[in-house]
Amino acid sequence: MIDLLPHLINGLTLGLLFALIALGFTLIVGVMEVINLAHGSLFALGAYFALTVIAGSWFSSTPFGAWWLSLPLGLRYVLALAIGPALAGLAGMLLELCLRPTYGKLPLYGLLLTFGAALVVEELIRLVWGTGEQNLALPQAINGAFLLNGMIFSTYRFFASGFSIVAIAAVWLFLERTSAGAVIKAGAHDSEMVRALGYDLARLRLLVFGFGAALAGLAGVVMVPIWGLRPHVGVDIVIPAFLIIVIGGVGSFWGAVIAALLVGLAIGITGAYAAAWSTMSMYLLLIAILGFRSRGLLGRKSALEN
């Protein structure tokens, strides 16, 4: 049983990070009834922008670059944690603008557009950052390992888990305790009503997309030291995110979090027994759950059912 512990922790860490991605995803879906297949791409962009901030690869040969790289890694990392998601958020808003011609038409078009966007972003990443696997340099403080009870634990995973918990709590606070958050939540329930109350729906959508994208980008920065950083990582992550939303139900905060933890744990545990098959356990979980409750665990009926 004790052998399972590292895998459980891995699974939990993964689950918490998945929760961040899934939250951004479900907010977008909730307020807009659009399935954002490019969500994984925003995740990837967050990570790649962070890479540039930390490693300064674009401008390393300039004087500015030299100064930049002389800054302590810890500082650069913190900046990356802020800048990466911010830029991802901007990309998200750009995507929302592209989606506008598809509003009012069949949901299929939005789906197709985001699918195309995912492809385009992946190709762009290849073009700008190269096709190989990259590494995000981590400050000493959160890197390495430590001993506890005779077992070795990865420091970074603890950091990632803790950070995710804080981030999830922050999102919850934002949605529940701020007026902006209230509008977003209301919009997720009934965007027509929000408009009737005088809010600019177009601006709301833009902001929600930006916010959701930033969350994905944040998850990207934190997750890639574990998950790996390569151009395909966007597509790799959108499927779990997607699965989580469907399992947990579209539009549900806690559904997303709980489902994310479930999926993360499933991957972690199967990683203990049959590592090669752990990612496939997600799909089996999806099929099993959709087989019993076609709206996921906590989902509500939405226009997505056509």
Binding site: I35, C98, P101, T102, K105, P107, L108, Y109, L111, L112, L113, F115, G116, A117, L119, V120, E123, L124, R126, L127, V235, I239, F242, L243, V246, A276, W277, T279, M280, Y283, L284, L286, I287, L290, G291, S294, L304, E305, N306
Partner: protein, 342 residues
């Protein structure tokens, strides 16, 4: 916007002018391709993907069921063909049958599960199943060769009674694939224009009403899914012969998504011939643009996005708009041109 559901003015014949045009093009291709600086193998690729895309569009365009995991059945067909050659017998018809059966059974099983769902849940499940098949192909090393693929698939000769034709030459294989394609074209055309096809479209337009006027909607959805998988399996067997190998990559989300893009760009949502245009456009883009820049897929993706935003009726729809004024409706109308939303 015109749609697949536009009413045909004249009774739909078995063979139509666009079919003849396609047949002529196929016939001329082996000479045409080199003349415009392309190569023989491309013709085979295009033929295979048109076959795949036509079957796929019955599901995607006509029935409105959005499958993002259909590459799996193409792959299953390819593997089944190859495994048959390796483990049972080197036989063309045996291999084709194995491919079609394997893909058909897989499609029937998945379709049975899927067909009760709708909308985004349907789409997501298709991705899920597609990924599972892809995983199996990657992991079952002893059977499929895993990432390295199933290699050394022969091209068995075509035997019809006393006649035997070798298919080892690309040109010969192309003609064989072209004949199969024309058979699939005629079959799909008849289906699309039969009551079965009209009901599929009714289900797309309003599944609830289709149910309330008495149709067993589940059965139709299941049938069209299985059929599209069968056709994909056939295309897959040709692919195995063409490449002389089978790889997991066709089952990936990436490739499954490619056929979706091809079909939309071509105009599969509004026209029977959309997939044909879409496939040709994709491969020409790949080879012509690809010759100019490494990032041609980026440009194709941008074109795709632009089409979705601005011209979802695709190439076929745009062509139709250029060539006609408005789609006439009354039967016996003088503007004979109208048969063709195709």
């Amino acid at each position: 916007m015109i749609s697949l559901s536009d009413i045909p003015i004249r009774p739909r014949a078995w063979i139509t002018p666009p079919m003849l045009v396609l047949a002529v093009l196929l016939l001329a291709a082996p000479n045409l391709l080199p003349a415009i600086g392309l190569y023989q193998y491309l013709g085979i690729e295009i033929t295979i993907w048109i076959t795949f895309a036509l079957g796929f569009n019955l599901l995607f365009g006509y029935a409105g069921l959005h499958s993002f995991g259909h590459g799996a059945y193409l792959g299953i067909g390819a593997y089944a063909f190859g495994l048959f050659q390796h483990h049972v017998a080197v036989s063309l018809w045996g291999g084709l049958l194995a491919a079609v059966l394997a893909a058909g059974v897989a499609g029937a099983l998945v379709g049975a599960f899927l067909s009760h769902r709708r909308g985004i849940y349907y789409a997501l499940l298709t991705i899920g199943f597609g990924q599972i098949f892809w995983f199996l192909a990657m992991k079952l090393h002893s059977v499929t060769g895993g990432e390295d693929g199933l290699l050394g698939i022969p091209r068995p000769p075509l035997t019809l009674g006393p006649w035997q034709v070798a298919l080892t030459d690309n040109r010969a294989l192309f003609y064989f694939a072209a004949v199969l394609l024309m058979v699939v074209v005629v079959l799909c055309w008849r289906l699309a224009n039969s009551p079965f096809g009209r009901v599929l479209q009714a289900i797309r337009q309003n599944e609830t009403r289709a149910r309330f006027v008495g149709y067993e909607v589940w059965r139709f959805k299941w049938a069209v899914f299985t059929l599209s998988a069968v056709i994909a399996g056939l295309a897959g067997s040709l692919l195995a012969m063409a490449q002389q190998s089978a790889y997991p990559d066709v089952m990936s989300l990436h490739q499954s998504g490619l056929v979706v893009m091809m079909v939309l760009v071509g105009g599969g949502l509004v026209s029977f011939w959309g997939p044909v245009l879409g496939v040709i456009f994709y491969f020409v883009a790949r080879d012509v643009l690809g010759g100019l820049t490494e990032t041609w897929l980026l440009w194709y993706g941008l074109i795709f996005m632009a089409m979705v935003m601005l011209r979802p009726e695709g190439l076929a729809g745009m062509l139709y708009g250029l060539l006609r004024r408005s789609p006439p409706r009354r039967p016996g109308s003088v503007s004979a041109a109208a048969t063709e939303a195709a």
